[in-house]
């Protein structure tokens, strides 16, 4: 085994990477549990790629073929229903852990200098993950997903100046058609995977470059607190977390496998009870609450612009929160808690 390792090392030079990993330490403190979130996301991403490729073996991204091909996968192909169920649930798990990861970083203020770039790549990764969820949701082409996509792609329209054009880009025209399906498909299987892999590379490089961040209180203690070597101590623990997540995923996928609605009809009225995937619920509910007109301006436009402003703030949070240890930092933490509470309440409300 060692000679095999040496063979590769001589040609590819892994030695440096392995040497680095052997020296890498993970700080131990009361928030150490959040360090597991990153690799968990990677775990689910891997599952998504594998199940996604397998689903794409039989999925047909055409207007006529989409729904029947999914129906075929779910009914005829051996364990096709489980594959699709895993893919669907794993996307939920992955985005849930992305949010937990984001919250952990935000509340421990791990984005503070010099890790601002890591935060920015992270926010872009969040956007890519949500885009994955959004584009994937349309692919079965059933009534619910068509309706949800119509609503979702209508949103940019309210942005002044570029709104209608943006909607046109997303929909490949003014309406949702077979071209929309093709566009969403190629984004889901080609453009977004390349983007997420590139962003992931940058994100991981930056994380390794700066090392694991510690919460402010730990930093104040100065020096080095207790640590755990990444290899093998932390890595084995991560493997344990992965095992548990795998078990939960497969169990839920078996017990609560999603069905497939009837094929979407572009001409028929919208079905009742449309709602987007849970991670968009808080935005959906917010939009529902906004009145049609506010101070003479289009209500939806105000809502969309407010949401974009909010997202922009989140993206540049490290630059706003440039004095994390002082009062300004505490205020921002308070606002972050408020934002979280708002999102949770709106999501639950949107469910009811």
């Amino acid at each position: 085994m060692r000679t095999l390792r040496d063979w590769f090392d001589e040609r590819l030079g892994f030695g440096a990477v392995i040497g680095f990993l052997e020296k890498k330490d993970v700080p131990r403190h009361k928030h150490t549990v959040f360090y597991y979130t990153g690799s968990s996301i990677l775990f689910f991403l891997g599952i998504q790629i594998v199940t996604g490729v397998l689903l794409a073996f039989y999925y047909q991204p055409t207007l006529a073929g989409a729904n029947p091909s999914v129906a075929r996968i779910v009914t005829e192909l051996p364990l096709g229903w489980l594959l699709r169920s895993v893919h669907s649930w794993s996307s939920t798990f992955m985005i849930a852990i992305v949010f937990i990861h984001l919250l952990g970083i935000a509340f421990t203020k791990a984005y503070r200098r010099p890790r601002e770039a890591t935060w920015i790549t992270g926010v872009l990764l969040l956007a890519a993950s949500l885009a994955f969820g959004f584009t994937g949701y349309l692919l079965p082409w059933d009534e619910l997903s068509l309706a949800a996509t119509k609503v979702g792609t209508n949103l940019p329209r309210s942005i002044p100046v570029v709104g209608a054009w943006l909607t046109g880009v997303m929909r490949a025209g003014e309406d949702v058609t077979g071209d929309t399906l093709s566009r969403f498909f190629i984004f889901h299987v080609s453009v977004l995977p390349i983007a997420i892999l590139a962003l992931l590379g940058a994100h991981l490089f930056l994380v390794q470059r700066h090392g694991m961040s510690v919460p402010l209180e730990e930093e104040r203690k100065g020096g080095k607190g207790p640590v755990l070597p990444f290899w093998p101590n932390f890595a084995y623990r991560e493997a344990g977390v992965w095992l548990i997540l795998l078990g939960l995923l497969v169990t839920i996928a078996v017990v609560a496998a999603p069905g497939l609605g009837p094929q979407a009809d572009l001409m028929s009225p919208a079905p009742e009870g449309i709602k987007p995937e849970w991670y968009f619920l808080f935005m959906f509910q917010t939009l529902k609450l906004f009145p049609a007109r506010i101070l003479g301006l289009n209500g939806e436009m105000v809502a969309v612009l407010l949401m974009m402003a909010g997202m922009g703030l989140v993206a540049v949070l490290p630059f706003i929160d440039n004095r994390p240890a002082e009062r300004k930092g505490k205020i921002i933490t308070g606002l972050a808690w408020a934002g979280l509470a708002y999102a949770v309440v709106m999501s639950i409300w949107g469910l009811l």
Partner: protein, 108 residues
């Protein structure tokens, strides 16, 4: 469980519970428009709402698979625990691994 861990667990459950609920509810609501469409009996036969149909033989296979997955997870978890404890022991003894590895001992 000390206070912090409890908070983390609560937060995690709070964060994951809505998604679980949404997913399960969403899976159920996929059938609702289908039922209504059938009652309305508009144009084409509103078929195609398969909620993961499973013949009894396949159900058995799936239950077996699930049981095997969980048994494997428990076994692997236990083995991993052995490894983690060993790694922690080694680390706490201050035997941080350097470039060379000690040769494997032959039997104990």
């Amino acid at each position: 469980m000390n206070g912090r861990r409890r908070w983390v667990s609560i937060l995690t459950i709070l964060a994951l519970a809505p998604c679980l609920a949404a997913g399960i509810l969403g899976a159920g609501s996929q059938d609702a428009p289908e039922a209504r469409a059938q009652q309305a009996a508009v144009k084409a036969p509103a078929e195609g709402t398969e909620a993961a149909p499973r013949p009894p033989k396949e159900r058995m296979a799936v239950v077996v698979l699930l049981t095997w997955v969980w048994i494997s997870i428990l076994v692997l978890f236990w083995l991993l625990r052995l490894r983690v404890r060993e790694a922690d022991r080694v680390f706490n003894m201050g035997l941080r691994r350097t470039a060379g590895k000690a040769p494997e001992e032959r039997g104990h």
